[in-house]
Amino acid sequence: MMSLPFFGLLAGFGCVLAGQRGAALLLWAVSMVVMLVLFRLHVTDALTIVL
């Protein structure tokens, strides 16, 4: 599951090389959303700091 954003961005690079700008932007956006979801799933412990 952690590899999903990498393969999404790899497909985005493929679209760039193929001249598909819109598809590349879409794949970038999806990859960033997946990244943020994974970030949320991994950051579960509270920080021991005072803000």
Binding site: M2, S3, L9, V16, G19, M35
Partner: protein, 188 residues
């Protein structure tokens, strides 16, 4: 700044981001330091920034492409800040080895900041957003080579992440490549 100059500058930026990812990958392969989940997410931030630069290289400079770079760097920087805060209190440990006094996540935050500042500075050169000029053949080869290099790094990092974490989430402190580990011996 002409559009072709901006494209070449973006290709140089793409090379710089690729070098950061190559350094992290070499550390992983040669020194055996497995990346933690947050380290991997920071690499995603770098890859996202690289994709924005590649869009500028291939289709010509566009404010939206710089937006892709800046947003990716902000997301990656957010992960870096979270990891720095997790270790900021003395005595709470660190992850990985330090380079020139700073750990990877601290360097990553500095590089993400530099990416944002660099893109913000480039956005002031408005002539680059004019109609793209025809680029010389040699420059085109360099531009495409940089994009292929970044795509190859995305593939290599994706495959290594599959080997490290399998199909699920990565452990917080990975010590082995899950898919390269042999089957567990039967219990007596």
């Amino acid at each position: 700044m002409t559009p072709s100059m901006a494209r070449t500058l973006n290709a140089v930026g793409l090379l710089a981001v690729s070098l950061v990812l190559i350094a992290a990958f070499l550390d992983q392969v040669l020194l055996g330091e497995l990346p933690c989940p947050l380290c991997l997410l920071q690499r995603v931030g770098f890859m996202g920034a690289a994709l924005g630069l590649a869009l500028n290289v291939k289709f010509g400079p566009h404010p939206g492409h710089y937006g892709v770079v800046i947003l990716s760097a902000c997301f990656g920087g957010m992960v870096s800040i979270r990891q720095i805060l997790g270790h900021i209190v003395p005595g709470t440990g660190t992850y990985g080895s330090a380079i020139l006094g700073l750990h990877y996540y601290s360097w990553a935050l500095l590089v993400f900041g530099a990416i944002v500042l660099g893109c913000a500075a480039l956005l002031f050169f408005e002539r680059q957003f004019a109609e793209p000029e025809a680029t010389p053949a040699r420059a085109s080869t360099f531009l495409i080579a940089m994009t292929v290099l970044a795509a190859t790094l995305a593939l290599a990092t994706g495959v290594s992440t599959v080997l490290e974490c399998g199909a699920g989430l990565c452990p917080d402190n990975p010590v082995v490549y899950e898919l390269l580990q042999g089957p567990n011996p039967p219990r007596p």
